[in-house]
């Protein structure tokens, strides 16, 4: 299930449309993840406030989406492009990789909410494949 040339084009075109909302997308996706999948809160026990739209959630949402934006730019070689991020997740953060799928799902939900006409089934499949590829690249260094 690797990214075809068409997938990459679809992702880049859609991302160009939505990237200016990157921070809002990240904040909403992270907020939803923490509410809908409460087990994900275990990674953020060091935050004072885990409620939707709180300061640490908004800030971290922006960080995550900056990573996604970086991945779009490096879409032709995610494995080497995201190498240091992979090392971070593998050795320092040690986020169980099942959570990448959870966050990806919530990113897709937010994209559907914010861009209902642009987030067609064709864009959806390309973005789903892209986020899965990003997750794979992030998991590279785990073992």
């Amino acid at each position: 299930m690797s990214l075809s040339a068409k997938d990459k084009k679809t992702v880049k075109t859609f991302w160009a449309k939505v990237s200016s909302n990157g921070e809002a997308i990240g904040a909403d996706a992270l907020s939803r993840m923490l509410v809908v999948y409460p087990q994900t809160k275990t990674y953020f026990s060091h935050w004072k406030d885990l409620s939707p739209g709180s300061a640490p959630v908004v800030k971290h949402g922006a960080t995550v989406m900056a990573g996604v934006a970086d991945a779009v730019a490096k879409i032709d070689d995610l494995t080497s492009g995201l190498l240091s991020l992979s090392e971070l997740h593998a050795f320092t953060l040690r986020v169980d990789p099942s959570n990448f799928k959870i966050l990806s799902h919530n990113i897709l939900v937010v994209l559907a909410i914010m861009f209902p006409t642009d987030f067609t089934p064709e864009v959806h499949v390309a973005m789903d494949k892209f986020l899965a590829a990003v997750a794979r690249a992030l998991s590279e260094k785990y073992r």
């Binding site: 907020s31 939803r32 509410v35 809908v36 939707p52 799902h105 897709l108 939900v109 937010v110 559907a112 909410i113 209902p116 987030f119 089934p121 064709e122 959806h124 499949v125 789903d128």
Partner: protein, 147 residues
């Protein structure tokens, strides 16, 4: 036994009462067949599913999407016994239709996306949590009679 709070019950009935089943059902099924193309394996007799446009305009898919949504309606009306309500449907999906139960989650995710697109920011994190809890119960009930 699945426990539902009053708030959860009212969220589910409110979401479904504002839905056009003839619109949302087909949209969710179409999206599932495009986003997860291997699910097309169950619809070989439905005619042309050759590309996204064919899937979107296929009348058999439209009809079936509506049927699926009306099937979900039965769970909405029997939230305290979704397992029992779906026992026969579960047998059907296992014995007659031979559907891999992992597919139920794929369709559920597509339905969530379609509802999110329709409701916009009105689909709050709390509503999303309740809706996904409801769909998880439905998915579990549909897989229950497999052996």
């Amino acid at each position: 036994m699945v426990e539902w709070t009053e708030q959860e019950r009212s969220i589910i009935t409110s979401i479904f009462s504002n839905l056009d089943y003839d619109d949302v059902g087909p949209k969710a099924l179409v999206r599932c067949l495009i986003v997860y193309p291997w699910t097309q394996r169950y619809f070989a007799s439905f005619g042309n599913l050759y590309n996204a446009d064919a899937i979107k305009t296929n009348p058999n898919i439209q009809a079936h999407g509506t049927r699926v949504l009306h099937g979900l309606d039965r769970a909405v009306k029997n939230m305290d016994n979704i397992k029992g309500t779906y026992a026969e449907l579960s047998v059907l999906h296992s014995e007659k239709l031979h559907v891999d139960p992992d597919n139920f989650k794929l369709l559920a995710d597509c339905l969530t996306i379609v509802i999110a697109a329709k409701m916009g920011s009105g689909f709050t994190p709390e509503m999303q949590a309740t809706f996904q809890k409801f769909l998880a119960v439905v998915v579990s009930a549909l897989g229950r009679q497999y052996h």
